[in-house]
Symmetry: C2
Subunit: 479 residues, 2 copies
């Protein structure tokens, strides 16, 4: 019945890669509401350490639990439940070294950066495809193919549908507005979603899961469930998905557009996820308009927030936000495209410019495309194909940033490398203040043409660098 | 000795164009400090109306007074002075119709616009050449030639030198820092300046005279004179220059960078100019950084301010500033050029974009060029030649704005013409909300390519206009 078990009591040791998913399955009661009535927990023990995970009902009388081992060696587990059939099952697994491309989950590194669990730097060039998993199989495959050829290593994606969607399956039981039973879930919906999360994991792409959003407008009511219903939903989602090492939790998109929830509600829900998640996946909440207003900006300094998931158009503000000692990720800075709304019709030049502004200041920026008149519609909504000119430039930027020398805390090492992005302006020259005790090679980078040209000579101390008169240039001085 | 006089007591009627300058000259005492010791006033009478102007000492024992008649017909004048030689001189002038190109002084029209005294609309496309009158004759001639071929109808220009300049003549007596006598003036400096103001008048260009500025840095001390010295200076300037119909008073550039003067000081000096100036020329003061801060933005609502002379980078803010019922003139919005400072290295595209933003919202915007590596140096500092690509586009914009139907208050007549500037974005289409009771022709304007293309068909009510996918477009719908 289960991987890692040969019978109901003990199991021979299944081999599981470090940071991969171990899954346990047990038969149990199917009557009543098994999503609400039955509890299952599994405690995994490695030496003196015990990690307890919640199981979940997966339909058809089957209960499952998932676990991500983070140490190599022998892990033992035992189930506990007030339901006798599910209680006291034991087994073990053998955690083996990670395979190629498996660097473990991403965590915060230093104050403002990220790294995989194996120490590899995480570049954090994200994109957004809110409802790509709700699309046809064909479009989903296109999305995965598009991501495979792209620089993107994170996708923001929603669990819940918007008001205008009429999907075949929902996270909850039922499909008709007004007839959905939020006390029950649709396991098939989740199995599909998990398959897509696993596909992203294969591609080395993080799944920044958006748990709530305000685009419901009274159709489904998912933005105005009771505190108990919210908690029931989050428990199920965390039980099913937390073991996938590429999962991040984004409690809500544009939380401040939801007028049925208060900051105190978000505090409570974020803390609930913090309590439920055995792995402490990255956790944030994403603003709509209120980043700079006096009222109700969410305080990213709160301890259950791991990074700042910002919506703002101006990459130049990263410096200010870094006063909060958490990574700054501008998940929405505007999208390349031709939509009618102001957030969705940036030129490629402008979007790439905003990326360079934000990233050279030590922040991270997210991509999106919103071409409304193309075959697969807008990438930010449904995935599909990438049509814009920004993504190859972001690949160039990603490689560029990855090549910079870093200090232990992940910041660019200013003693070894001077970086100066010149923006959308066209100065004839720029003054660089280089240390006087060393000679520097200086390279001129055209961020849009994607060229790197070494300037003749060597530079030291205060020096004036002549520039060609055009925008979107950067300078890198290397010792 | 004087135009308009044949003897010391009465004069035969000299002919003076309406809104031109009548000048009277009288011999008087040259001893002591005639700039401070001697007062001369001249009262001009037209029917029951009397306009009294201050005279001024012009050196070499000569006193002058200048007057701009604003009604056609016979004007009589009489001098008054406590100095017997200057007292009681009488004469008359015959004010005749204005010649070609003489539309009179510019005044405020409606809440937010300008018009010449004869009712002609004033377009208000200004530029800046702060110290062009301090340059060599050759460069000054270049500046005038450049203006002649340009769309600009206003120049911002400084009376006082900056810290780094060592000019041959100053407004005050003396030329060496630390040895200037601010109780005396250099008439030759002013004669030259007035000649240039008259040259601008010939070209139909307003002279927006900047009376103080903060770029002194302790060299001349002109930014930190006593209240008496400031008043002495302003009295002399107004006496000499107010009669030129193209003069505007800008009390200070970037007043908030002068830490030796308070808002109360600026209030006093503005009110002094208001009291001294018989013609009530346009009067404002220009901010440095504080347009949007909480402390010390100058309140343009004060009654002695005629228009809002703004520094700000964002033309989209015009709508907000129009809540003050005075014309909005963004005299500094950034300059086209290649300077190292962020205000001086905009691309032509960006500067033209900012103009269209501000002007389609019912404001006015000022031009400047700051190319630092060209033969005649930066236009904003010294004049010389125009090198940029923005000025022909601003000529196009000027013609475009001049062609729009206007309401009585000067605002664009929205019932006859719908205007929509699309900015630096690239939407595939835009929704226009046209009145449903009429058919509209719609033109697509490429503001940078300077093309106007009529879209096929007629439009009415709410309609979607397809657009080519590129930035810097505007739409005009004409009934």
């Amino acid at each position: 019945m289960s991987k890692g078990m040969t019978g109901p009591v003990t199991a021979s040791a299944e081999k599981v890669e470090r940071w991969a998913v171990h899954e346990l399955a047990l038969p149990g009661p199917a009557g009543g509401n098994p999503f609400a009535d039955v509890e299952l927990r599994v405690s995994y023990r490695y030496r003196n350490r015990v990690v307890t995970v919640d199981g979940f009902y997966d339909g058809d009388g089957v209960y499952r639990a998932r676990f991500m081992p983070d140490r190599e060696g022998r892990w033992e587990f035992v189930t506990s439940s007030s339901t006798p059939e599910l209680n006291g099952h034991r087994g073990e697994l053998s955690c083996v070294p990670p395979g190629p491309g498996n660097h473990g989950p991403v965590g915060v590194h230093g104050a403002h950066h990220f790294a995989y669990a194996d120490g590899t730097r995480y570049d954090c060039i994200g994109t957004t495809c809110y409802h790509w998993t709700y699309e046809s199989q064909e479009v989903q495959e296109l999305t995965l193919a598009g991501l495979r050829g792209s620089p993107f290593d994170k996708v923001r994606m929603c669990l819940l549908p918007t008001d205008g969607m009429r999907p075949e399956r929902l996270p909850f039981a039922g499909t008709e507005p007004g007839e959905v039973d939020v006390s029950r879930f649709d396991p098939e919906f989740f199995r599909h979603l998990e398959g897509r999360v696993a596909d992203l994991m294969e591609l080395g792409v993080e799944a920044d899961l958006i748990l709530f959003h305000p685009y419901d407008r009274g159709v489904w009511g998912f933005d105005r469930m009771t505190p108990e219903q919210d908690a029931h939903f989050l428990r199920y989602v965390v039980a099913r998905l937390a073991a996938y090492r590429n999962v991040w939790w984004s409690l809500s998109n544009e939380y401040d557009f939801n007028h049925d929830k208060t900051i105190a509600d978000w505090d409570r829900l974020l803390q609930l996820v913090q309590r439920l998640d055995p792995y402490q996946r990255l956790r944030s909440i994403h603003n709509g308009t209120k980043m700079y207003e006096i009222f109700s900006p969410y305080d990213f300094g709160k301890p259950w927030i791991t990074h700042q998931s910002v919506q703002h158009w101006d990459g130049a503000e990263v410096g200010a936000w870094r006063s909060c000692p958490k990574p700054v990720v501008i998940d929405e800075i505007g999208y390349e495209g031709n939509a009618g709304r102001r957030w969705g019709n940036l030129t490629a030049q402008e979007l790439v410019h905003r990326f360079w502004q934000g990233m050279t200041l030590g922040g991270y920026v997210g991509h999106g495309e919103s071409f409304v008149d193309r075959e697969t519609r807008a990438w930010i909504s449904v995935g599909g194909r990438l049509y814009g000119e920004s993504s190859p430039r972001l690949a160039f930027l990603r490689d560029f940033m990855a090549g910079l020398p870093r200090k232990a805390d992940g910041d660019v090492d200013g003693t070894r490398c001077v970086l100066h992005y010149l923006g959308d302006r066209q100065p004839a020259s720029v003054e660089l203040e280089l240390p006087g005790d060393a000679q520097y090679r200086v390279e001129l980078i055209d961020t849009f043409a994607m060229t790197v040209e070494e300037l003749p000579g060597r530079f030291s101390g205060r020096c004036t660098i002549p520039l060609p008169q055009r925008p979107y240039l950067a300078l890198r001085g290397v010792r």
